[in-house]
């Protein structure tokens, strides 16, 4: 079985509004799958259904072969959710947050797990500070570190870089790539085209409740007429200028 997620004819209504009108897609194990769509397209609704937080009105969704509606317990064993707003406990310190999740995953040595992750995510210096004092990027790092506890095979990242500054954004991208390199399947939603382009093996575009395009970046590019060669002077983007001025080195 090489499918991490299998979604068929997924439907969901909120009161009279039909948010999902028959969504189909598959995610292979070990790949980074990006669900691209505008605000309100229904991305979070799909994530919540797959993470067993919401019941669909029609269609089926399976995670690692387990149906999300009938076997939610087994699905939860395999997944980890990093929601849209870094859901860290602000009153606890970074270390306490990690220890808490390790205890809830019933791991044998919660403190060692926390120490290892603090190291790996560069949060050692801030380990004993309340999470409310963290910057946006640090919060996101802590958030993702919490999601990694218990080595879930599939991680949902719902708009992981929304609201982050460019530096923290690149930092998060590196993290996501690192996860996939380690064999974890990553399902991410984003409204940024460049994010999908940078990270994803497979991209699906959700528009008005259905998937209107699905494939690798190469496949999606073929849907458009071949690129015409034109010579233009390349202007640096504002993001590149910003990063150059503050001396941020990619790969540093």
């Amino acid at each position: 079985m090489d499918k991490a997620i299998e979604v068929k004819g997924l439907r969901k209504c909120y009161k009279d509004t039909e948010v999902l009108k028959g969504v189909d897609f598959e995610v292979k194990r070990g790949e980074i799958f990006a669900l691209l769509g505008a605000n309100g397209a229904g991305k979070t609704t799909i994530v919540r259904i797959l993470a067993t937080l919401l019941k669909q009105d029609g269609g089926t969704a399976a995670v690692h072969g387990f149906d999300v509606a009938s076997e939610p317990e087994k699905v939860r064993q395999a997944i980890s959710l990093t929601g849209q707003f870094a859901a860290v406990d602000e009153i606890l310190t970074g270390r306490e947050n990690l220890v808490m999740i390790a205890k809830l995953r019933h791991l044998p040595n919660p403190r060692a797990v926390a120490d290892e992750l603090l190291n790996r995510f560069g949060l050692n210096d801030a380990a004993n500070r309340k999470a409310s004092t963290y910057s946006g990027g640090m919060r996101r790092r802590l958030d993702i570190a919490m999601s990694l506890i218990g080595s879930p095979q599939l991680i949902f990242l719902d708009e992981p870089t929304t609201g982050l500054d460019p530096e923290a954004r690149i930092e998060t991208w590196k993290l996501v790539k690192g996860l996939a390199d380690g064999g974890t399947t990553v399902f991410l939603t984003t409204q940024y085209l460049d994010e999908a382009e940078q990270l994803a093996d497979q991209i699906a575009i959700l528009h008005k409740g259905t998937i209107i395009a699905n494939g690798t970046l190469e496949e999606l590019k073929k849907l458009f007429p071949p690129a015409k060669k034109e010579y233009v002077e390349k202007q640096p983007s504002l993001e590149e200028i910003f990063l150059a001025i503050i001396g941020y080195k990619e790969g540093a």
Partner: protein
């Protein structure tokens, strides 16, 4: 019931107890304010109050304890609302844990923290001249009534915390509860009140609970008051539990 229910719940308890101990605001409201009321009524107003007793601290203490609990449970609503708002509940619910442990953790925290503030207030009252002839059995009965009262109001708070759309809405319900002891026999005997107010005061739950505790602490016959008090607590408990669990399940 999930095999990890109790260990998960104790993690939740540890988490919210940390929240309480790190919040000066909570400690001031649930401990210092009732003690200030005690001081105010005994040393400022007490001289002019005709309660028909030579020890006004003895007379006043049960009502002050109920006020402390009523203000304490509003923080349960506050914490639940915050967890809901910040996505913490969703994070927990997407993990393979006993889901009900999240809610029960808050309830248990309420019991433990209110018990602590009650003990502190009784110690202060002892310094102020509170004396009781009650034996172990009477004290156990008092503890039982207070726990039942706390539990009943905690489930009321859970409804507010889970169903509210704003922080104000989540905590506003507790103001009338904190005010209720004033229109009861907690501060002055009901005989001194005008007929309509007196009718209300004598038939609302606080009066019967206060009278029952007062009788137990002074080893007077408790009469029917204790059954009326227990009926009120159990009735509120059952109804509030039903609606709170419904609100909790609806949120998922």
């Amino acid at each position: 019931m999930n095999e990890h229910f109790f260990s998960d719940m104790s993690v939740m308890l540890g988490r919210s107890m940390r929240h309480i101990m790190r919040s000066m605001d909570t400690i001031i409201t649930v401990c210092i304010t009732p003690i200030a009321m005690l001081l105010l009524f005994v040393y400022v107003l007490g001289g002019a109050i005709q309660a028909g007793t030579d020890n006004y601290v003895n007379y006043l203490l049960p009502g002050i304890l109920l006020m402390a609990i009523a203000s304490g449970i509003s923080y349960t609503a506050y914490r639940l609302f915050q967890d809901k708002q910040r996505g913490i509940i969703e994070r927990f619910h997407s993990m393979p844990i006993a889901r009900s442990a999240v809610l029960w953790g808050h309830v248990l925290t309420s019991l433990v923290s209110n018990a602590l503030s009650v003990v502190v207030i009784i110690l202060v009252a002892l310094i102020m001249g509170f004396r009781s002839s009650a034996g172990i059995l009477e004290w156990l009965a008092v503890a039982g009534i207070l726990m039942l009262f706390t539990l009943a109001l905690t489930w009321v708070a859970a409804i507010a915390g889970l169903a509210a759309n704003s922080m104000e809405g989540a905590t506003a319900f507790s103001y009338p509860l904190i005010f209720l002891p004033f229109i009861s026999s907690a501060f002055v005997p009901t005989e001194s009140m005008p007929a309509v107010v007196r009718a209300f005061a004598e038939n609302q739950p606080v009066t019967s609970i206060v009278e029952a505790i007062r009788a137990l602490l002074s080893t007077q016959p408790v009469g029917d008051e204790i059954w009326v008090a227990l009926a009120w607590c159990l009735g509120i408990l059952v109804v509030a539990y039903f609606f709170a669990v419904r609100a909790y399940k609806k949120g998922n």
